[in-house]
């Protein structure tokens, strides 16, 4: 039986955390736009880095968490693990979309091209596609236990696959060298920018937690409603 009161409490905590993260986000962007120097070569467009990189980080983290929880679910068969994995996947998908849209927007003025098949970008594209596959499979299965089992299988395999994708593209590029690009986040970034970037990443992480909690709670409430409907019909 699903505890609706606890689900609602989780949702409220999630909302609070999200609001805090939003405030943090606003502060970070004030800092990024007003108090962080403009990058010499890339100009103001470089500031998208403070959205793109943390979004990529959040998407990657969400992906890893979904994969890890999938493995734990198969070992422990606790449905809560599956619910969090699913919530994480949906939030991760949203962050992937942000990452995939800000990437080209940033890339065009700087690299002169909307897209480039480098190892990092391609891996993140595949993470996006794997999230979609994961969620599509979930959507196609009705029984919750079967759905949890199937999701975990694909979640684990997807996690193991991504390093291979990365390697594939890396080998491909060393085989067929592309014209040299300006490396987006060169190690010689001045301290001020690094701090802004790290703050951004921290805020996005908190945002991820807040969103995932709310999505998890929403999932719980939906299940509770299905349960009630099933009992009413029985």
């Amino acid at each position: 039986m699903i505890d609706k009161a606890r689900a609602l409490k989780t949702a409220r905590y999630g909302q609070t955390i999200t609001v805090l993260a939003m405030v943090g986000l606003a502060s970070v962007y004030v800092r990024a736009l007003g108090f962080t120097p403009i990058e010499r070569f890339q100009g103001p467009a470089q500031k998208i880095l403070y959205v793109h990189a943390p979004a990529a980080w959040a998407a990657l983290m969400a992906f890893g968490i979904t994969g890890l929880l999938s493995l734990l679910y198969l070992m422990m068969k606790d449905r809560r693990l599956d619910r969090v994995a699913a919530a994480s996947a949906e939030v991760g998908l949203a962050f992937s979309v942000v990452m995939l849209t800000t990437g080209p927007i940033w890339g065009k003025p700087i690299w002169g091209t909307w897209w480039t098949w480098d190892a990092r970008l391609t891996s993140t594209l595949f993470i996006f596609l794997l999230f979609i596959g994961y969620l599509a499979l979930r959507n196609a299965v009705i029984d919750p236990v079967v759905r949890a089992n199937y999701s975990s299988v694909i979640g684990i395999m997807a996690l193991v696959l991504v390093p291979f994708i990365h390697l594939t593209v890396y080998f491909f590029r060393t085989l067929h060298p592309q014209p040299v690009l300006l490396k987006p986040s060169s190690p010689s970034m001045p301290g001020v920018m690094v701090v802004t970037l790290l703050l951004s990443i921290a805020v996005f992480t908190v945002l991820y937690v807040g969103f995932t909690m709310q999505r998890y709670a929403l999932g719980l409430l939906r299940e509770a409603r299905e349960e009630e409907a099933a009992h009413a019909g029985a």
């Binding site: 198969l74 595949f126 596609l129 794997l130 979609i132 596959g133 599509a136 499979l137 196609a140 299965v141 029984d143 236990v145 079967v146 089992n149 199937y150 975990s152 299988v153 694909i154 684990i156 395999m157 997807a158 193991v160 696959l161 291979f164 994708i165 390697l167 594939t168 080998f171 491909f172 085989l175």
Partner: protein
Amino acid sequence: MSGSGLWRASLAIAAKDIAIEWRTKTAFVSSMVFAVLVLAVLYFARDPTAVASIDIAPGALWVTFTFAAMVGLNRAFLLERENHALDGLLLTPAPPTAIFLGKVLANLAFVGAVEAVSLPLFTLFYDVPVWRQLPQLVLVVVMATLAFVPVGTLLSSMVVRTRFSESMLPVLLLPFLVPPLVGAVQLTSRLLAGRPLSDLPEWVRLLAVFDVVFFILPFLLFEATLDE
């Protein structure tokens, strides 16, 4: 069940699958027709004055192999759904691993047959010197096929129970095809140019490691797809 018992059960299941496919041939014919069409379309999908057929040949071969294989992968578990035959298998002492291995072997035979028939056609259509390094080419084909058939078999075991199984399998499987496909294309390209495999050791290694990981992992995960 002992090792040899597991092996015997798997062979029995694979033999049964092959016997049934041999009798009906529907999946094989569909895959072959698909393969011929893809080879033809890819041959014409270029400017022949700008792009030589040998340049696109490796890519065309591997797209054909993988897509034609996908057409037939669902066959393995669809067969067990009619009459709930899978329940019959689960009632026997044959362990789930044997069922999965049997299905993988049958799918390998199926995909292997499609590849064996497609390769001469490919040579014919694209006019490429396949014979010079045939053993090495066959090795690459074997390695790349081993890379995606177990994953495809595992995914099809799940997907056949869903509503849109025909379109779900490619959506889920395609990302897993990318490393072996890219690797196979690079190696095939070198072989067709008369170069040895040792030219590209990192790709051979990538393919080998991918084979091992994505052969073992589906076996470990299969039982989870049976649990109800």
